[in-house]
Symmetry: D2
């Protein structure tokens, strides 16, 4: 852990602005860039063994490192101080992490050799193609991309968007989710996942989607059309109709990692705010910024909200370590809707303390805000998680009613014994 922090502070953080400066402004060239300083960081991190830390040995004995979810969660928070650069430097960045987990758990030996090994080595990157255009994709049964067998080949047709990483010149492979059996009685057996090389004929990256005004080049979140794309049958992952099972396993820990990074972003933003409001050159009306009205209260609330959200996430990570993602659904669901909103509030306060500089390119704050705003939508919008947590809670009602009736019975006996007529 101390090693990670040292590497972060001495190597990664000084490289963040350099990395941004190495992405050209030109609307074409910025998508063809492999950022030199990031490649340097990767080489250093690999040498120091700070590599693939997301992959828990407990779950992936063959490929993993000996870290629990709880330990990785703490690490993910720390790395998030360096935005996208931190995770990339140590080969822990989404969507590659989830894709590596899928290939490590469900991939055939050939699939692992061809795609997992270069991913684990940080030689290539990858995309995960699930979200579809003009489709309410929070309901997975709405997916329309078609995946069907034709002889020895699989043919893919579909229109996706928000495919993270699809713009990156290093991306060599897409994992594509679609419907292989749309008439299957079970809505959860209709989907399959297929491996599609990024340069297969028919894979068309239409345009990058922006988040607020950011395009996140060179990775981007792209609109992609799969137009009669053909891949060999051996590119099917796990088996026909097992797509839903694959994404379930992928999302649980992934959501918690996002949450933990989000805590780190909030903490880093509060740190920035603390420096701003104590800056002697920012005095107005003879006072430091922190001596004005509500600034100290904003800081105290941010501190409290970060602590409290961090405990939620750590407790969910611990729960996953103990009971796997399936046994931690309540904890994951709560963190999923609580943490991003908390972080947005904290960042927004920091923006306000920075004034105009806070919304500009001169701090990371507005960029962080935009990025975390998407987490209230991605992997299921807030409303879906709130609904699920609420419904799970409602299931406690019958037990409570039963207990209340037992108490009532004893209460009546006690009223009688004490000779009082109860009022109700």
């Amino acid at each position: 852990m101390a090693k990670v922090i040292k590497f972060l502070e001495e190597e990664i953080l000084p490289a963040v602005k350099v990395a941004h400066a190495q992405i050209p402004d030109d609307p074409i060239k910025r998508w063809q860039t492999v950022i030199p300083v990031v490649e340097e960081l990767k080489a250093k991190a690999k040498k120091q063994g700070l590599w693939n830390l997301f992959l828990s040995k407990a779950h992936y004995p063959e490929f993993g490192v000996p870290l629990s979810n709880l330990e990785y969660a703490v690490m993910a928070e720390v790395l998030a101080h360096a935005g996208h650069i931190g995770p990339q430097a140590m080969n822990c960045s989404a969507p590659d992490t989830g894709n590596m987990e899928v290939l490590a758990r469900y991939g055939s030996p050939e699939q692992q050799r061809t795609w997992l090994v270069p991913l684990l080595n940080g030689e290539i990157r990858s995309a995960f193609a699930m979200t579809e255009k003009n489709v309410a994709s929070s309901d997975a049964t709405n997916i329309r991309t078609s995946i069907r067998q034709e002889g020895n080949e699989i043919v893919i047709n579909g229109h996706k968007w928000w495919i993270s990483g699809a713009g990156d010149p290093r991306t060599r492979v897409h994992l594509v989710m679609g419907k292989s059996d749309p008439n299957n009685k079970s809505a959860y057996n209709q989907q399959s996942v297929v491996i599609v090389p990024a340069d297969a004929p028919g894979v068309k990256v239409v345009r990058p989607m922006n988040v607020f005004g950011y395009d996140d080049a060179p990775e981007g979140h792209c609109e992609v059309i799969y137009d009669n794309v053909r891949v060999p049958l051996s590119n099917l992952v796990l088996g026909w109709g097992r797509g839903f099972e694959i994404i379930q396993g992928r999302l649980g820990p992934g959501r918690i990692h996002h949450c933990m990074r989000t805590i780190g972003v909030a903490q880093a933003s509060l740190n920035l705010m603390l420096q701003r409001v104590t800056d002697p050159s920012r005095k107005t009306f003879g006072k430091y910024l922190h001596q004005h009205g509500t600034v100290v209260a904003d800081i105290a609330k941010s501190r409290a909200e970060i602590e409290s959200a961090r405990l939620l996430v750590l407790s969910a990570a611990l729960q996953i370590d103990k009971y796997k993602a399936k046994g931690a659904l309540k904890e994951i669901g709560i963190a999923k809707f609580i943490v991003p909103e908390m972080a947005l509030t904290v960042i927004d306060r920091a923006i306000q303390a920075f004034g105009a500089e806070g919304v500009s390119q001169d701090t990371e704050l507005a960029y962080r805000y935009a990025g975390i705003r998407t987490l209230r939508i991605a992997d299921g919008p807030d409303a879906v998680h709130i609904q699920q947590v609420g419904e799970r809670e409602l299931k406690r009602a019958p037990g409570l009613v039963k207990k209340a009736q037992e108490i009532k019975k004893k209460e009546n006996a006690l009223f009688k014994k004490h000779g009082i007529k109860a009022h109700l």
Copy 2:
């Protein structure tokens, strides 16, 4: 723990309404009542060893029970489901708990024999007299009650209010805080604490203070005048000028116990809400209450907020176990302003689900709301704790600035090495 829950559900909860029914409506008699069903509970609890559980053996080897703060915190949450009755039944109710801690830690052998032993036995009750009328008591240097030596006696003159327990016929002793040395240079050495028998001449209980419309008879929170009250010199606690030290030791764990009870009250209110919104007889427009609009979302948010506040409190309790109250000031401060506000929100949602019944005497909800509303004021109002947490946080700024400068230096070197002119 299982034993506590069993006793709570089988003995205490069925007695709650009976206890309330045993307090007469008559404005005089209600203050002269010793509630029979509570005395029965106390006898049973004592027999089962569920007694004085707040007193940690680690801190009070002579009198204590072998429970950590963390363990007692969990217990306090559970007991709070029975309102005031739960803690009383097991001799764990404020202000007695804090007073027993003071006497156990700082009392002379004689003081302990005379007052602590009957308190530990639940034979008498006690009051703690700090808050003063017309004085901004969140600043302890404002205290005006005078405590001075005259020969072998101590003479006390002062006007206090909100003295919890002062109305109770079982209350035999007040611990009174006042100024013995108002001109002492150190504002923290001006105060002393004196033991005053409740029936000493000059102790006048003026009236009960109401909280919203509740008088909390028979204990009450009373206005009390100490008019030339005289006690022997041996009634001084710990020594002259050590009053501040005494209340500091008293408040830390006390605040966390309040927080933990507050979590229990929130949880109990959510439990009630769950029963109400699933009650088939409450259908409107053909739907269960929980199927309408925002009810499920309210439940999910309450669940999330309770979990998250509970983790804060448990983590503060753990911190106290490890580093004493002094080493847990940040954690205690955060919990102190986060938890009551959380509970008020949860209770308010439950009230709304119950409609008019929720504000009435037919549920505990409005009474709970009123009680917890005072916790945003008592033991220091929110603003004081927010200010302290914020200021503690600001102390991190210089360290952050230094670290930022180091990173900047490395960043500049990196820009140079890569041949880029930095923009800022």
Copy 3:
């Protein structure tokens, strides 16, 4: 208007605490009291013509005074500074106001002579019995009280609660709503309203309901059983099956009057807070309260929220003056759920500024909070009004879609004309 303010400040406000002091503590006697100082005020107000100002001549040419809803709204705000006493002094207090409106609009000449005239004279008071125990009464079709004809008599059986005024010794008449035709195909023609003398055999006032510990004696909000109560056929109001029509006419302006009083209560609470935070005797740590942290911000927000809510209510009152209550449903609905929540926030801030005194009987603040908390439930809970405003808004969607399509068509033409290929 100036006359009202003068009367308020010189006569009513100095009488408020006197009136409270004239209500005995005794649990029986407090319900038998006619408060002397209030009767004095009524006599003075009547003499000055400050009487029945709620009754607009525009709507009630025979009985009314020449004030618009807008003008009365302003007056209601002002009077609310004196709590319940203000409206009573000038014979403008609920539920009498609504009942007088019902009788003035729908009553037979005999009904008006017997009940309306003494009500207009302030000689008697009245109750309106709608809410039922154990019934989700926000859905009026759930009402169970039975009203049926037997020969020349009407027989009433039902179990109501929260019947305001039913405890008052001056109350001589109840307007009772029940089902006369429970099988009528239209859910809105099943109800009737009947006049029941308060002393009719079978009218049993069971107990007062409390609101956060307050019983509001002597009026109270009571649980009432109508046990085989018999009244002459001539006591039917308006006609069989017209109950729904009657309460609709009754609720619209009534809700706005409640809102306007609520604005007054919020304003009076902010006024109190201003006095407290500038009180030189309340200095802590060498500063006035208003110089600490967030106090000024709280005041500014309260100011802004009151202004904004007041504009909403005035605009609704104006709308009623122009288009009757039916043409102002949107405005009334919005005010109904916005105003009480605003006032609760403002009062809560004032309570916090007052500390313990704020929750006690020594200020009006906690009592106000409790009273206004019920307005989020009474006359339809927040959720119902929010749902209705939302649904009304959704009806605008088709028009917006149509307009968007027209614009899209023109847009396409423009793209073509300028030789650009649109992206979407």
Copy 4:
């Protein structure tokens, strides 16, 4: 008004996306663009007399149009449905509007001929240079730009940023605020305003500032250095030391216009949300979006908040019409901090209803959010306005105390008369 709405819907709205498409992606060329479709709109609007509507004849008899502030406020809301394009089309866009007001009110005849006339004709655009880099500019006394006379010339040196319009190829003139007399005893007489041609030697546009990733090309908000810029003495506006006076007159109505546009943006966003949640193709789990959980409640709250904020702004506009900006400071201050926060909430809800599309370039929502977020900072951050409104409110305290004392005196007399001993 109907004419404006017709022009908006038939001409402007269909042109919005076309206008955006006519701005090139290229990082150089996008700053050299005069958007063809906007120039067409301007020609049409001028022909129809929909031109310079912001300039009230009441205040500017020579140049103005016969509209009150209230009427223009309504118009500004409507035009805001078309984003920046609406105001530009009708020559009502900031910062030109404020600059024209300054020149119309304070400009010399020569200044008016040279700069005001082409601005009024929409032939050129302009910038207002006040905000400075690394300076806490919410405190105007912090300004560092130097403006000094050298012979017949004025020499300007300063480093500004966030200069809106400075990037636009049509911008020909900057109004620059700086210190001409930094040692003047009155902090409000140290500043002067000077007219600087955009192409004067020494005017260096350094870079555009981004707002959440948006650069707002071609206008932009630019960093600008004035490096020994020299202009003739006749370019001084109004007189030496009158800079503060000039910006005061400029900001009042300007803030309200911003507020009114903000209302329009909120309304347009709610309109979009209504269309989305009723879109049959967006059904999830068999339900329309608006049938899920909290969507209707979100819509109702947005409706209520927009109505209420609009009333605040209209009331402030009316106040300005009656008493000039100086007599409407409270109303303007309240609107300034209430309206943008309201709009951000409404837009955020709309974003959430749109999912990923809501944060992308395919709706205007994220762009609107970013734009309005700056309004919590520009023209004084929220905290400054909140502080001022709060302090103004505190001035009411002494009057309230005096009135309370008078009431107390009467109250005491009344207690005595009724023979009661008051409790306090």
